[in-house]
Symmetry: C2
Subunit: 248 residues, 2 copies
Amino acid sequence: MKKKRKSSGIIIIGNEVLSGKTLDTNSNFMCKELFKIGISCEEINSIKDDEKTIIDKINIFKSKFDYVFTSGGIGPTHDDITSLSIAKALNQKLILNSEAKLRISKHYSDDILTEARLKMAFMPENAILIDNPVSVAPGFYVENIYVFPGVPEILQVMFKDFVISLDEGYRYFKRTISTHLSEGIIGDYIARTQKKYENIEIGSYPYFKKNSFGVSLVLKGENEIEVKNVCDEIFEYIKIQNGNPQLF
Amino acid sequence: MKKKRKSSGIIIIGNEVLSGKTLDTNSNFMCKELFKIGISCEEINSIKDDEKTIIDKINIFKSKFDYVFTSGGIGPTHDDITSLSIAKALNQKLILNSEAKLRISKHYSDDILTEARLKMAFMPENAILIDNPVSVAPGFYVENIYVFPGVPEILQVMFKDFVISLDEGYRYFKRTISTHLSEGIIGDYIARTQKKYENIEIGSYPYFKKNSFGVSLVLKGENEIEVKNVCDEIFEYIKIQNGNPQLF
């Protein structure tokens, strides 16, 4: 039986994103992976490494979405305050998670198990670990909040691996048509078509390449045949307009 | 005289970002440009092309920050609803802006001035235009909300050009030290140093390259000499630890 699509929100935590030093690619990676298993991402929010800001945002997101994913701020340094802030948001104690400590201890020999590294084993008391095959220090989840690191090379492996477990069998279908006709030319037609088929979501995305431009139209819907039919209809229209439609 | 640093928030509008289809690079570009003129970006929020969502977010951001910048949703198609939503959020009428219409009409000959293209000249009644040297159709600002398109090639030119006019002479100073020592090794020392110098913000950013890793430490502050002194102190410490510090 098809289930209702679950919603999610992503919180990116880190001053480096807001100063422009770092281009956030983590949210895009997570959105793609969520899309694959049919979880909808409703909102992405990049915020500072600031305790009150994190607490407020966690509280808003946890009641707004089925799943909340965070990235950043669980490393070993003084500006890594995500775990503490989440514990406070949920009125839980921040405790040394013994399983996390064990994994980190095994990874580092005694003389380099610094206080800073041990910091990564402190989590809200009800945290359940998320495996980290890259650099060992685990992420965790607690209530509906799923906590991942900020380093893309680590996040990507952990997220891809973990998110599969959330797959609840929901699927939708997608088709993409591109044309060299501009939005200004086909916009009116597309608007009429969108009105006609309310179950299909038609997105219109202009592109600019070297010496050429055009539009990609993305059709999404829960009914495969309906998506195909509307796609065929738009394809034919663009063809008649000499728009050289391409299907993806 | 040095002025107080102004705050800003960025709203990225578009389903394509939330589905993972498009990697948002606009907010990163805007953050960098804002950073250069000393306007702080406090929050980035990516949201759907949904009227109620846009209205709510505009109302929250406009009272929270000195400047609100939006990107996306001002093109010619049915899913471009940013201008209408902002007008509604501010209780203003959406009207045909005669100057915007003139510019768009000049650019397109009569036979291709479609209804879809004309749509781009509809703006909140008190809107003031922001020039678009790339594709003519202007952005606008109204109250403290600055509205830009979503296509990066257009946004970048418009934003860079416009944002200079907001420069109010605030400056801060930044230094970066990198080392091959890991956060786990230097984290305790950096935490102590951060505590000692409260006027300086020390960010710690691990990096992973092919066959190597390490940390970049970014120091920021309003007093150039203080930033330099703290930087020198950390540099010396890393040198003694054989961490091969590099200054940027």
